[in-house]
């Protein structure tokens, strides 16, 4: 068993290292981090704008006015989150190369806008907000990568204007970016022109059709979700941060799916996707952290006899409520523990399938596009993610029960072992 585990770890460590330390993926992850406060701001106001029973309380007309007044909060942030992600990626890409990161941000944004259609129904001078949200997400990500790389490449090639000594440094800096940005944006303009002669007409349309649609279609399905969830669990089993590693690849897909739901929710249409960012964060991870260990802690409080487990319960519960569960993962321990590998891998997969099923038959509403911070305690997070619906909390309760039942026999075996050890030690 041990040599097998060592071998597996020798495979996983380089993967973790590559995925986490890859320049593009790390800029992508940090780019989303930059956008996150705005996404959450928008989410808060979606929640407030859709408070339950308010329409009955103040009347439909007043409720419509109320919603209109709050609308811009999410329309200016959550709806067009792609824009903020692009700025973040461009900034972080150039920052990594120790260039002037603010120019990375603006050149990424500029390049993206050049590629974005600026006509809606033959009305010129407008940019469809949908292009800045879900639909433009992948184009934005690729554009930000390429634009920032090109910019920094031109800077490194010293294609800048040298100012004579005596020119204030701020002035000199503004000129130093001139040629690299001009060259970079010119390339993107050329790309736009070339694409206008293809059947796709716009680059946006091309990326959407060739890359984004197939990837999100794949990511929205149950099989891919199960694979992702399993991979996260496997990484954690070896004590490696599964989300950090896997999410850097899947976040763009999960956020794009989430944004489609948000657009539909705002338009009052049927929500298209079951799997979204909050589906993963709220119903599979957000019940005490990876592996939904809040249910494990509850099981410990109910059945554990050994001092070691009871101590762990006390140690883990405070942070566990807020979905931080390293004490459980390293303390139970879960890592490299052959006894827990079955419940550790099985429970999240069963939960994913059950949640998927419950949402597909409409027993529980789908997520509305609200992004709930991952530290939000369970029950509340489920309620918020499903559009202020109590059934979201009920789903989390069901999931906790599933985890509880799957874990219980294994916990008992472990607890007995600890208990025996403690007795013989005395």
């Amino acid at each position: 068993m041990n040599t097998f585990m060592e071998k597996l770890e020798n495979v996983l460590m380089p993967v973790a290292d590559k995925l986490n330390n890859n320049r593009y993926l790390s800029a992508l992850r940090n780019g989303f981090m930059v956008a996150l406060p705005l996404i959450i701001f928008g989410s808060i106001f979606v929640v407030i704008a859709n408070l339950p029973f308010l329409d009955e309380l103040i009347g439909e007309e007043a409720f419509a006015t109320y919603q209109d007044a709050l609308g811009p909060a999410s329309a200016a942030t959550l709806s067009i989150m792609g824009l903020f992600v692009i700025l973040g990626i461009g900034y972080k890409m150039v920052e990594q190369r120790e260039g002037e990161s603010i120019y990375g941000a603006v050149v990424a944004l500029g390049a993206f806008l050049i590629l974005t259609p600026q006509v809606v129904d033959e009305v010129g001078g407008v940019i469809p907000t949908s292009a800045l949200g879900a639909e433009g997400m992948f184009l934005g990500i690729f554009t930000a990568f390429i634009a920032a790389e090109l910019y920094q490449h031109f800077v490194n090639r010293k294609l800048t204007i040298k100012m004579p000594a005596g020119v204030p440094s701020a002035v000199a800096r503004s000129f130093s970016a001139l040629i690299p940005i001009t060259l970079t944006l010119a390339i993107f303009l050329l790309v736009r022109i070339i694409f206008s002669y293809t059947p796709f007409e716009t680059v946006q349309n091309f990326i959407y059709t060739i890359v984004q649609e197939p990837l999100t279609a794949l990511g929205s399905g149950l099989p891919a979700t199960i694979v992702a969830v399993l991979l996260i669990q496997v990484f954690w089993f070896f004590g490696l941060h599964g989300q950090i590693i896997i999410n850097s690849v899947l976040d763009p897909i999960w956020f794009a799916l989430n944004d489609q739901n948000y657009q539909a929710f705002q338009a009052g249409e049927e929500l298209p996707n079951i799997v979204t960012k909050p589906f993963i964060d709220t119903f599979i991870v957000g019940i005490g952290g990876s592996g939904m260990t809040l249910a494990v802690l509850i099981a410990i409080f109910i059945v554990a006899k050994s001092r070691q487990m009871r101590e762990l319960g006390k140690l883990g519960i405070g942070s566990g409520v807020f979905n931080v569960n390293e004490p459980v993962i390293f303390g139970l321990p879960i890592i490299m523990n052959p006894l827990v590998i079955i419940p550790w891998l099985l429970a999240p997969v069963v939960v994913a399938i059950v949640t998927y099923f419950c949402m597909s038959i409409g027993f529980v509403p789908r997520t509305t596009g609200v992004v709930v911070p991952w530290t939000t305690p369970a029950l509340l997070s489920g309620y918020l993610a499903t559009g202020n619906n109590i059934m979201g909390g009920v789903m989390q309760l069901i999931n906790m029960a599933i985890v509880f039942v799957i874990w219980l026999p294994f916990l008992k075996i472990m607890d007995n072992q600890y208990y025996e050890n403690e007795r013989t030690a005395k």
Partner: protein, 102 residues
């Protein structure tokens, strides 16, 4: 003053350790500054630190951070998983002080 920096994915789970380590340092009467940051802030924050310790779940960051740590001339290590799981402030403080030396 001993300046001890901890880093993990979001600086959340290491911050559990921070309070335990501070308690321990206070008991021993050692003047310390102990704080936890998210991984992407580690390179920047280590300029203010005498030692950098990583959460074991982020041990794959060690390779990437080794260069900057060497430049700063500060030691860098991964916290042992058992001490991490038990939020053992004493053991981790010992480790940090040992790495700082003197």
């Amino acid at each position: 003053m001993k300046r001890i920096l901890l880093a993990c994915s979001a600086g959340m789970s290491t911050s559990l350790l921070v309070s335990k380590m501070e308690e321990e340092a206070k008991e021993r009467g050692i003047d310390t500054k102990i704080w936890a940051v998210a991984q992407d802030k580690a390179t920047e924050e280590m300029k203010e630190a005498d030692v950098l310790l990583l959460g074991p779940q982020m041990r794959f960051m060690k390779k990437k951070l080794e260069g900057p740590a060497q430049e700063q001339g500060i030691p860098l290590d991964v916290i042992d998983p058992v001490s991490y799981g038990r939020i053992n402030g004493k053991a981790v403080l010992d480790k940090a002080l040992e790495l700082i030396g003197d």
